[in-house]
Every structure is written in structure tokens, then in C-alpha cells.
């Protein structure tokens, strides 16, 4: 539409050729004209819409008509007669005649009263106590933005209806003036486009336009710019005809990791370990602990190749050559399987084995066992492929091998068994791959790619389908020739080949690179784990290892290095090759020492100021905790310190931070008395923090964590949801009530009072509405939040108030969150109703809460402030 308008505008300008100043007069008339035209078009379009819709309505009606006639046909005349309604039609209770024709309007004074002689009675059914539909919550939720009543107009009518009482508080109306960004309609676009294209972007034109178009002048100008860009784009597109639009579904490999992880960062709650956490919300500030978790660690000697493509195989060959026997089994394995690979192939490949064996001859290295294992197992495979000749040849080669490695046998006896079994699995793996593949003519790389490509086939059908086969061919040639004359002294030779092969097979996409870096962060320089966990299906271990050696790890410092330049780095990768795990190990050891030291150096569990507060007999003031992002130690700037909260495990600061709450050391007390620093501070114990508080999980079939204390901690009941069954029924006192299914003892935990977390401001607004209905479900949680169980909560929200209650409510800090637990104040029998003292503030309490004997829903309630429940002290 815009382009159409633009065309006409250009035409007009050409034909008129007036200077802009004179044109302003004509402009306004032209705008008027256009407005009228737009309006006319609008009316026509509405008419068309209604016409179309009218057809739909007809269609709907005809459906209903046919449904009716279908039902009618089901009715036989007989069963209709049986119906009272039909018989009443024949014999009505009473008939009221119409006004006589001539009586006219004035004769209506004698109204016809309907007299009910034979009314059928509907038996009395007691109505339910009123309630508002509510949703069960098993954990608190933060209020969603759109649920706010602040700044929203609220209209009340009196009980019976017709007159508006209060429209809204004046204060409320003032709070949020809705300054929405103006959204331009198509029609407005047309007008401003016409005006500016034709008369230029001058003040006068802007004046004229803003009279008929909404939005500020700035917005109008911005809009014009946008329209111009759009128009340009459109013209570009037209000239380019149809550029194929790439449909983007899911994560594209071209995206950067941060883009791909955007929703992860925004939606994943690191405190609750779940997506879309309703308690802590989206887009939480990311806090990285200053003490990193130790990276996953495996001793290299313990490691087994993760796949055919494991770098360990490659490494073994190198080590082989360098007379190192440390990682022998892997090396052997690699050899065995690569031997197997070649066995299955053509004779060129077998010559390669010979070559390789020859080169091994030079080294006093115990390959014999592995070789034999490999060979024996390979025979059937090779036979089935009908390559007897090959076997013979390799037999020969292997016998050579055996002879020469005799002298070093003694050193490897221990490893024999392991190797044997390893070889079996490796070869089996290989066999499987071989069967899948149709291209056994391809050389090593081809077979290496196999595994990869099979995987890839499922993930990236496009890539593997179109590019892979070709590449196999090309790449396959290189190594074939190369290996025939291979000199194993060049350790970087293989590397080069692989890098080249890799590059042509799969370039490192930005996402892959970033994933790799994340992997290094998590697992250290362990290509097996990185590949398995982050790049599975994208890269092989070997590729990752190569990339790592090629300096991939240093990518962030040279962030814009294109993948092509990798090749140049290959020359100097040798030096880095050997240090795959070294730094990790060192770091780990350091860390272990550190933590241990702290563990035993803690004398007092809590922070001094907490102790002081506890000693004062005051519960820790309920301050909302927000994790701080301090690095290492928290100083004066630390928001936690500033807020008067302790640092928790979610903070960025180090474990030795002075402001940390350090949990308890209780051994036998079950943490149920004030002797436990956690209990005294109004906190639940945290198995991550407290020393002896442990949790068993499940039925023990998954194995239990080490038992640290004598008995299970009794102060994790909200955390573990060890709650009682609560029943909902009509209260003996007023409205609904909460009842207990099974008997409990004093101080037993009954359940949580859950609800929406709302701000105090919001609570005041809602409170006004609730007080009007004289039924409030607000509970003061801490300095920032109030719980509102009106629309979301659990059955305990129905527990009534009593000044002589059998329960009490207590706000507990559970894993950084304040939660309200309801506890038994005394022994309670089964199916007794639950009451607790709402502890309204003196000026807030409704009448029924003030007078001990009055019921909860006393009609004559006259509350001053907004009633909010409080915990018992």
C-alpha cells in the first residue's frame, strides 16, 4: 500500500512541481481528501467483511437447523406425547388473552397477574460458602505483570446494582499515566508518506500531518524513516526478484552461542534448576560463583577412548613413536582398530599396515598382544569380505611384529587382559560401522568419518547427504597416498592431514566454537567429554582435540579469527600437544586443599551479626534475599551486607565470605531447637551448607549420599515437603475451613501457606478490594513481598483465625527464599479444624479479629488499614 502511495506521490510532485511553501495549503486539503478516501475505503471494507461474515453466519445457522431437524426425526410422536411439556401445551395452566384490537395503549391499566397455583417445588439445597476460583500452588509464585491492580481502574457497584459507587481512587489514576507508544495504522502511514514524499520533511508539513495523524512529532518523523527504509527494501527485493528466504527453525549453527543460549539464560532458574521459574522470574542477573566448581576430572591413564574418533587413538600413535609407554593400552587399541580398518580395505591399506608395523619395528614396544587380538578378531570380518590375500599379508606383518616385541613383553603382562577386552569392543564397534558403510574403499579418514556421518545423518541430513560423500573421496585420496610413504617421525603429519580433512568436512561454525569454549570451561581440556556433552553429532573427539591443539582454546583472545586461518597455526601446535590435562589436574589439587582447610577451620557456624541478632531474642528481620555478585570477599559494597541479609550459596562470593551463613554443625539434636543456629535464625537447614544435615533420596535404590549425622535433620521439612494431608470443608466457625486428616504432635509441620508474591504497594491496592469483600488472603512475608493466596494458593489458605489457635505460622528462610510454614501448636486430633492467629497489626485488624469471640466473617467489620496476616513470634 505504501509503495502505491509513493508512486502516486512521486507522480504528483512531478506534475505539479510546486515549491514546498506554496504547497502547504494544498497539502491540508489533500490530506483531507486522502482522509476521506481512507474512510470511504474503510467503510467499504467493513461492508465486505460483514458480507463475508454474513455467509458464515448463514452457514452456522444451517448447521444448527439440520441438528434440530435431526433431533426432531429421532422423536417419535409417541414419546413426545408422553412429555409433560407437550401435554401442557394442550392443557396450559392458564391462558392470558391478548389486548383486544381496539383497546389501544391506554387500556393497559388492569395488568394481568400471573397466579401460580401449581408450582413445582425445587428442593432446598444449601449453597456453598462463597469462594473465588483458585488455582493450587505447591510453591510460591511471583506475580505476573499483567495481574497487577495498581494503576488499573476499578469500578464498584453496590450490591443490587445500578449505581456506580467508586470509580477509582484518584491516587490510582495518577500513578501510571499510560504513555503508550503510538502505533501507526496503515492509513496514517499513507497520509504521512504522501505528505512527506510530496512536500518534503519540513516543519509546516509536519504540522499539517500531526493534525490528522496520532503520535508525537518525533514519532511521526521516525515512522517516516522506517517507511522509507521499508520502501527501499521493497524496491531492492523487487530488483533482485525472489531471494530465497531461509526458514529458520530451531537453533541455527550460524547463530552465536549467546543468541542460542538467550532463552536459556533468560528462562532457566539457576536456583530452582528449572525453566520458566515462577518464583524467581525470567532474566535473573547471572551470578557466577567466584569459586568455580572443580572441572570434571579423569586420570588420563584411566581413560578409554570415547569412540573410534577419539583423540587418544591418535595420540597413542604419536606416543608410540616417541618411545613412551605411559598410555600404552590406548595406543595399542588405536593401532589394533586402525589395523582392523585397513584389513577390511584394499591392499593399499594393508601395505599401510606393513609400513606402520615396520616403523614400529624400530621401537621396542609391546604391541604384540593387541596386534594378535586385533588380528584374530578380524579374520572373520575379512573373510566375509573375501579378502584372504589381505589377511595373509597382514599375518606376515604381524608375525614380524611379534618377534620383535618379545623382549619388552615382561613389562606389559599386566595389561594384557585389559587390552584384549578393549580390543574386542573396539573391533566390534568397527565392524558395525563397516556394515553400515557402503564405501569401504575409502581410506582411514573415510572410515573415521563414518561414525560421524551416521550420527550426523540424523542431525543434519543436508550436510551429510550432499557434502559428505564427495569430501570422503577427496580426502580419502590424500591420506592414502600420504600414508603409503609415511614417515612416522613427523608427528605433526597426521595432525595436518586431519585438520585439512576436518576443515573440508566441517568448518567450525561460530556456535561450535563457542560450545567448545564452554566445554573447556566445564571439563578442562578433555576433548572426550567436550565432544560427548556439547558437540555430539557436530564434531568428533579427534576434531575437537585437533582444534584444541590448533589453539582453539585461545580463540576468545583472537575472537575474529576466521576458521581458514587454522591451517596456519598447525605448525606450532606441537608444543601444546602434551598438556591436555595438566593444568586441570593442578587446579583441582589446589582446590581440594583449599576447601578442606576451610572445612576444618570453621569454628562458629554463623556470622557474628547473626549470632547477635539471635542472642537479642529477635528473629532475624525478614529481609528479602537477593544473591550478590561479589567476587571473592564481600566488602562494604556488597548488596547482601547492605540489605542486612546473609550471603547464601547462590551468591557469587567465596565460601569464606564473612557474611555467609555457614549452616549448623548439629550432630544429634535434629536441629529442632534454638541450639541449632539455623533453627534459631528462622532458617531451614540446607544439606549443601550444614555439615551434618543430610537427605536420603528415593528408596535407596539409587544409592544414598554419605550419612553425615546420626539421624536425619528435622529442620528441612518445608524443603522436603514433609507435610500433612489437609482437608477442605465448611468451617464450624465461618465460611470454609482447613482440617487435618491425621493426628499430629506439637510442633509438627502441617504444610505451607503458598500464594502469589506481590509487592507491598500491590498488596495495599488489593487489600482495599479484599477488605471490601471482608475476606483477605494476604500474608506479610518480608520487607519486599506479601503473599496473596486469593487466586492461587493451597488449602491452608482457608484456615481460620482464632485468638486461641491450635497452629502457628512461621516464616522460614528455605534455600534463600522466605516461605510460610504452618505448624501445630499443640497435639491435634484427626479431622480437627485448624486455626492460627492472623496477628493483624493493631490498626488493621477487622472487627472479627479484634474481638476474641466474634467469628471471622462478621458482617460488621470495619477495618482501617489493609489486613495482612503475620507470622507468630
Amino acid at each position: 500500500m505504501v509503495s502505491k502511495a509513493a508512486d502516486s506521490a512521486i507522480k504528483l510532485r512531478k506534475s505539479h512541481g510546486q515549491p514546498a511553501n506554496d504547497a502547504v495549503g494544498t497539502l491540508s486539503s489533500k490530506i483531507d481528501q486522502l482522509e476521506k478516501q481512507i474512510q470511504a475505503e474503510r467503510f467499504v471494507s467493513i461492508k465486505e467483511k460483514l458480507l463475508r461474515n454474513g455467509k458464515k453466519v448463514q452457514c452456522h445457522v444451517s448447521h444448527v437447523v439440520s441438528a434440530i431437524s435431526k433431533r426432531d426425526s429421532l422423536h417419535t410422536q409417541e414419546n413426545r406425547i408422553n412429555q409433560m411439556l407437550s401435554s401442557r401445551i394442550d392443557h396450559p395452566l392458564f391462558k392470558f388473552n391478548a389486548f383486544s384490537q381496539g383497546s389501544g395503549d391506554k387500556d393497559l391499566n388492569n395488568s394481568l397477574d400471573v397466579i401460580f397455583t401449581a408450582s413445582i417445588k425445587m428442593p432446598y439445597i444449601e449453597r456453598l460458602p462463597p469462594y473465588t476460583s483458585w488455582i493450587f500452588l505447591d510453591r510460591n509464585q511471583r506475580m505476573a505483570e499483567d495481574q497487577s491492580v495498581v494503576g488499573r481502574r476499578r469500578i464498584y457497584y453496590d450490591q443490587h446494582g445500578s449505581e456506580a459507587l467508586i470509580c477509582s481512587d484518584s491516587e490510582e489514576e495518577l500513578t501510571e499515566p499510560e504513555e503508550d507508544k503510538h502505533e501507526f495504522t496503515d492509513a496514517e502511514d499513507r497520509i504521512l508518506w504522501m505528505a512527506f514524499e510530496e512536500y518534503g520533511l519540513t516543519e509546516e508539513v509536519l504540522d499539517a500531518v500531526s493534525e490528522s495523524v496520532g503520535g508525537t512529532r518525533q514519532e511521526i518523523q521516525d515512522r517516516y524513516k522506517i517507511l522509507r527504509e521499508k520502501n527501499m527494501e521493497r524496491q531492492d527485493q523487487e530488483s533482485e526478484s525472489s531471494g530465497d528466504v531461509e526458514s529458520r527453525i530451531g537453533i541455527s549453527l550460524e547463530e552465536s552461542l549467546s543468541t542460542a543460549l538467550d532463552s536459556f539464560d533468560n528462562l532457566f532458574c539457576r536456583r530452582c534448576m528449572m525453566f520458566d521459574c515462577r518464583l524467581h522470574g525470567c532474566s535473573q542477573p547471572l551470578i557466577y560463583p567466584s569459586e568455580k566448581q572443580p572441572v570434571w576430572f579423569e586420570h588420563e591413564e584411566d581413560r578409554k577412548p570415547c569412540s573410534d574418533q577419539c583423540y587418544l587413538r591418535l595420540k597413542a600413535e604419536k606416543i608410540l613413536e616417541g618411545n613412551e609407554a605411559t598410555t600404552m593400552e590406548e595406543g595399542v587399541l588405536t593401532l589394533a582398530s586402525s589395523g582392523a580398518a585397513e584389513l577390511g580395505n584394499k591392499s593399499t591399506a594393508t601395505t599401510l599396515v606393513e609400513e606402520r608395523c615396520n616403523s614400529m619395528n624400530a621401537t621396542p614396544f609391546p604391541v604384540e598382544v593387541a596386534g594378535c587380538g586385533g588380528l584374530n578378531l578380524n579374520v572373520p570380518v575379512a573373510e566375509s569380505l573375501g579378502k584372504r590375500k589381505t589377511i595373509n599379508q597382514s599375518d606376515k606383518a604381524l608375525s614380524d611384529l611379534t618377534l620383535l616385541t618379545d623382549d619388552s613383553q615382561s613389562s606389559c603382562k599386566k595389561q594384557k587382559k585389559i587390552t584384549d577386552t578393549d580390543v574386542v569392543t573396539a573391533v566390534n564397534d568397527y565392524n558395525r560401522d563397516l556394515n553400515v558403510s557402503a564405501c569401504d574403499e575409502k581410506c582411514i579418514i573415510a572410515s573415521e568419518c563414518l561414525n560421524d556421518s551416521v550420527e550426523r545423518a540424523s542431525n543434519k541430513p543436508l550436510l551429510s547427504g550432499s557434502t559428505c560423500p564427495d569430501e570422503h573421496g577427496n580426502v580419502g585420496d590424500g591420506p592414502k597416498d600420504g600414508m603409503a610413504e609415511a614417515e612416522f617421525n613427523e608427528s605433526s603429519y597426521f595432525m595436518n592431514e586431519h585438520v585439512e580433512g576436518m576443515k573440508s568436512l566441517s568448518e567450525w561454525k561460530p556456535l561450535e566454537k563457542e560450545l567448545y569454549l564452554k566445554g573447556v570451561e566445564m571439563f578442562g581440556r578433555n576433548s572426550c567429554l567436550i565432544t560427548r556433552n556439547l558437540l555430539s553429532g557436530l564434531k568428533t573427539c579427534m576434531e575437537v582435540a585437533t582444534y584444541m591443539h590448533a589453539g582453539g582454546a585461545s580463540m576468545p583472545y583472537r575472537s575474529n579469527v576466521p576458521p581458514n586461518s587454522l591451517k596456519n597455526d598447525n605448525g606450532n601446535t606441537d608444543a601444546e600437544c602434551t598438556d591436555q590435562e595438566m593444568p586441570t589436574r593442578a587446579r583441582l589439587i589446589r582446590k581440594r586443599g583449599k576447601t578442606r582447610k576451610f572445612k576444618y577451620s570453621w569454628k562458629s557456624a554463623g556470622h557474628p551479626s547473626i549470632w547477635k541478632r539471635i542472642a537479642d531474642g529477635k528473629n532475624q528481620s525478614c529481609k528479602q534475599y537477593t544473591p550478590c555478585g561479589c567476587q571473592s570477599m564481600c566488602g562494604k559494597q556488597c548488596p547482601c551486607l547492605h540489605n542486612g541479609t546473609c550471603c547464601e550459596k547462590y551468591c557469587g562470593c567465596s565460601k569464606s565470605c564473612k557474611n555467609r551463613f555457614r549452616g549448623c554443625h548439629c550432630a544429634k539434636s535434629q536441629c529442632r531447637s534454638r541450639q541449632c543456629p539455623c533453627f534459631a535464625a528462622g532458617r531451614e537447614c540446607d544439606p549443601d551448607v550444614c555439615r551434618n544435615c543430610w537427605v536420603s533420596c528415593g528408596d535407596g535404590s539409587l544409592g544414598e549420599p554419605p550419612r553425615r549425622g546420626d539421624s536425619q535433620c528435622g529442620n528441612m521439612r518445608l524443603l522436603l515437603r514433609q507435610q500433612q494431608r489437609i482437608l477442605l470443608a465448611e468451617s464450624d466457625v465461618a465460611g470454609w475451613g482447613a482440617f487435618l486428616k491425621n493426628p499430629v504432635n506439637k510442633n509438627d509441620y502441617l504444610g505451607e501457606y503458598t500464594g502469589e508474591l506481590i509487592s507491598h504497594r500491590e498488596a495495599d491496592k488489593r487489600g482495599k478490594i479484599y477488605d471490601r469483600a471482608n475476606s483477605s488472603f494476604l500474608f506479610d512475608l518480608n520487607d519486599q513481598y506479601v503473599l496473596d493466596a486469593y487466586r492461587k494458593g493451597d488449602k491452608l489458605k482457608f484456615a481460620n483465625h482464632s485468638s486461641n489457635p491450635n497452629c502457628y505460622a512461621k516464616v522460614m528462610l528455605v534455600a534463600g527464599d522466605h516461605r510460610v510454614g504452618i505448624f501445630a501448636k499443640e497435639h491435634i486430633e484427626a479431622s480437627e479444624e485448624l486455626f492460627y492467629d492472623y496477628r493483624y497489626g493493631p490498626d488493621q485488624a477487622p472487627a472479627w479479629a479484634r474481638k476474641p469471640e466474634s467469628s471471622k466473617r462478621d458482617e460488621s467489620a470495619a477495618s482501617q488499614g489493609r489486613a495482612k496476616k503475620h507470622q507468630s513470634h
Binding site: R42, C59, A67, R71, D105, M122, L128, T132, T185
Partner: protein, 395 residues
């Protein structure tokens, strides 16, 4: 009640003129006084062709079934009274069981839905469940065993009157924030309903995902209370954005379709094809097209197409009604006048303006007969008025 924001250019609605076209003339042919309590609802039976001239009214604790006979005669057929004198029925609707036995379904202050078997003159079922008063009950025209109820407890419930099951509850996170005043089934999309209420919004819900429960409700033989009633928490709109997100993570909630057409209570809404007719206390009925906003897919926008002015109609709980073919709608006002609008013409045509010297009481609801030739109105003062089209003026 002026609109706070001027209508943007190119989005102007067509406003009907209040000059009566006199296409059809109506004359008062009868008037009944049914007690002294206000009558809140009157409705014709559109379910069974034999009973198209049968209608029901509710007021106080009473449900009455009448028949419109030739020549302005009205016959009382049945009368039911709730033993609870405090009951005040607000709404009534016709339904039937799967055999076609006609049911009268009424609800009101007590929040109990009474399903009366008009075929045997017995109470068939009483649905207890709503936490507060019921403001409207409507019947699904294609499956007249299904009714929806709108309640003060902020929920809308779907019931099967045949088996007495509460199938679905439309409430919760995306639900209404205040009393629900009106609800209506989409005429052809059997999954779709629209509800509106005191929170100034109209919400469009889909029960497509839950349709198996609806089907299950017909064959349920166990106790109705054991039926796995489902909560529908989010009004649903066609949402392409959702699909894309779902590929990433399977955790995003459904988006809400809310249209802000009114700035006050919305007390009546009806589907007109794919468009919605709704009214607030602004002296007009509004016809609008629900659309999904492109930038924020959660929220819907309403393209207001037409307005049907109704003077002196600025109090709430006044409901309009349409004839079977949706050709016309009739609505009463605060002063006892009735306005009959042709719905589908553009610009809207006022068919007739009905007034009578003695009709002064607010008209709570009107009922148009199958062909629109009879209009009934029930008033605050407990009177029922019958207006019949004058035959000769149709030419």
C-alpha cells in the same frame, strides 16, 4: 462515557443512525405481571422445533415456562419455585438431554445450577460447585447437552446436563480478574467460547485440547464428582510464535487473548459469525473482529467494525438477544424502550424503536422469537411484555 482515546485513522467503526427505518413495526399485544420481583432473564427455546414458541423466564426464586400463542395470547405451561426463598435466579437457558427431552437450566444468586426436566416436570440435577452467583448460562446449539455458566467466582464452567458432569473450568492464571458476566459459544467452532465480565475484558477460550474430556463426559457412568474435571487456565489464540518457542523448550505458557474494547464492565457478549457483539455501559452495542497482535502475540486487539447506539442504556446487567438467524438484535434500556437493530447490514439499520407509555421500568433482557416476529421483554418491575410484528408494515 466518552472514549479516552480518539479512534485512529482508518479504524473508524460504522455507527448506526438512530433514525428508525420502520422496516418492521411492532405492537404490544400482551403484558403480564409476574410477581413483584425483578425478572432478569427471558429466553425462547431454539432447541426443539415443536417448542419454538415456548419461552422461559426467571425472577426471584421462580422459573416459569410460557407459550406464545396466536393473536398475542400467552399461556402459562409450567412453574417451578425454589424452596430457598433467598434464591434469586439471574439467568435461564434451554438445553436437552441426548434423547431430546427439553431441560430448563437456571442459575442465580445461590450459585447452584438447577437443571429442570420440562418433559417430566421434575428437577433433573442441581449442580453445586460454583463459589458464587451465576450470571449467565448458555447452551451449545450443536450439542445442546453442553452448557456453560459464567459466575461471580471469576470462573466459567462447562457442564454436561445429560450426565451432570462439570467438564472444564475456565479460570486461573489467564482467567478473569473479576465477576464473569456473560459467556457464549461460538456458533460453528464447537471448541470456542467467549466470556466477558467486570474486569473489562473479553476472553476467547479454546477447549480443543480438552475435547476428549467433553466426549468422555457423555459416557461417564461413575459418580459425576469423580470425573476428572480439568482447569483451562489460559485463553488460547492461534499462536505461531508459540510453535517456534516450543522447539527450543517445552515450557512456555499459552498466551492470553484479551481484547480491550470497553473501559467498564462488559455485561453481554455474543458471537456473530467470527465477530463478537458486546456491550458495556456505554449506550451502545459494539461489533468487533478479534485479531492477534503481531508484536505481542499474547494480547489480542479488537478491530471495531460497527456500533449500534442504544440510548439510556448505561446501567449494567442489561442483555440483548438475537433471533435464530442473527438478522436482528433487540435490547431494552433503562427507560423501558426497546431498540431493534439489523445486525448484518452496513451501516447498521435501526429496524424499530419500541416504546410504550407504561413501559418505564428498566428492561433486563429481551428475547426474539425464531423468526424475529415476536419480541419479549422482562423488566425490573416484574412485567413481561409481548410485542408482535405488524404484518402489513413489512411490505
Amino acid at each position: 462515557m466518552s472514549k479516552p482515546v480518539p479512534v485512529a485513522l482508518g479504524c473508524e467503526p460504522v455507527v448506526g443512525s438512530l433514525t428508525s427505518s420502520r422496516k418492521r413495526d411492532y405492537k404490544v399485544t400482551n403484558r403480564l405481571q409476574e410477581g413483584k420481583r425483578p425478572l432478569y432473564a427471558v429466553v425462547f427455546n431454539f432447541i426443539d422445533s415443536c417448542y419454538f414458541n415456548v419461552f422461559a423466564t426467571v425472577g426471584g426464586n421462580r422459573v416459569t415456562v410460557y407459550q406464545c400463542l396466536e393473536g398475542g395470547v400467552i399461556a402459562v405451561l409450567q412453574s417451578y419455585v425454589d424452596e430457598d426463598k433467598d434464591e434469586s435466579f439471574y439467568t435461564v437457558s434451554w438445553a436437552c438431554n441426548i434423547d431430546g427431552t427439553p431441560y430448563v437450566v437456571a442459575g442465580g444468586f445461590n450459585g447452584i445450577i438447577r437443571v429442570i426436566d420440562a418433559g417430566s416436570e421434575k428437577i433433573h440435577k442441581s449442580f453445586v460447585g460454583h463459589g458464587d452467583s451465576i450470571n449467565e448460562i448458555r447452551t451449545q446449539p450443536l450439542k445442546p447437552s453442553l452448557v456453560v455458566s459464567a459466575s461471580k467466582d471469576e470462573s466459567v464452567r462447562l457442564w454436561n446436563v445429560h450426565t451432570g458432569i462439570c467438564i472444564l473450568i475456565f479460570a486461573g492464571a489467564g482467567g478473569h480478574r473479576n465477576e464473569v458476566l456473560s459467556v457464549d459459544f461460538h456458533p460453528s467452532d464447537i471448541y470456542r467460547i467467549a466470556s466477558c465480565g467486570m474486569d473489562n475484558t473479553v476472553k476467547i477460550w479454546s477447549m480443543k485440547e480438552f475435547w476428549t474430556y467433553v466426549e468422555k463426559s457423555f459416557t461417564w457412568t461413575d459418580l459425576p464428582s469423580k470425573f476428572p474435571t480439568k482447569y483451562v487456565q489460559f485463553p488460547v489464540s492461534k499462536n505461531l510464535f508459540m510453535l517456534q518457542i516450543k522447539i527450543y523448550y517445552n515450557c512456555i505458557q499459552f498466551q492470553v487473548f484479551i481484547a480491550s474494547v470497553h473501559t467498564n464492565y462488559v455485561d453481554c457478549n455474543r458471537w456473530l459469525g467470527d465477530f463478537i457483539l458486546s456491550k458495556s455501559v456505554d449506550n451502545e452495542i459494539v461489533l468487533w473482529e478479534p485479531k492477534v497482535k503481531e508484536q505481542t502475540p499474547g494480547e489480542g486487539v479488537a478491530d471495531i467494525l460497527q456500533k449500534y447506539p442504544v440510548p439510556e442504556c448505561d446501567i449494567w446487567f442489561i442483555k440483548f438477544s438475537c433471533d435464530f438467524h442473527y438478522n436482528a438484535a433487540a435490547i431494552g434500556n433503562r427507560e423501558g424502550k426497546i431498540f431493534v437493530w439489523e445486525l448484518q447490514s452496513s451501516p447498521p439499520v435501526l429496524v424499530a424503536r419500541l416504546s410504550h407509555a407504561q413501559s418505564k421500568s428498566p428492561i433486563r433482557q429481551t428475547a426474539m422469537s425464531y423468526d424475529g416476529s415476536t419480541i419479549l421483554s422482562c423488566c425490573e418491575d416484574g412485567t413481561i411484555w409481548r410485542w408482535d410484528a405488524v404484518a402489513n408494515s413489512a411490505t
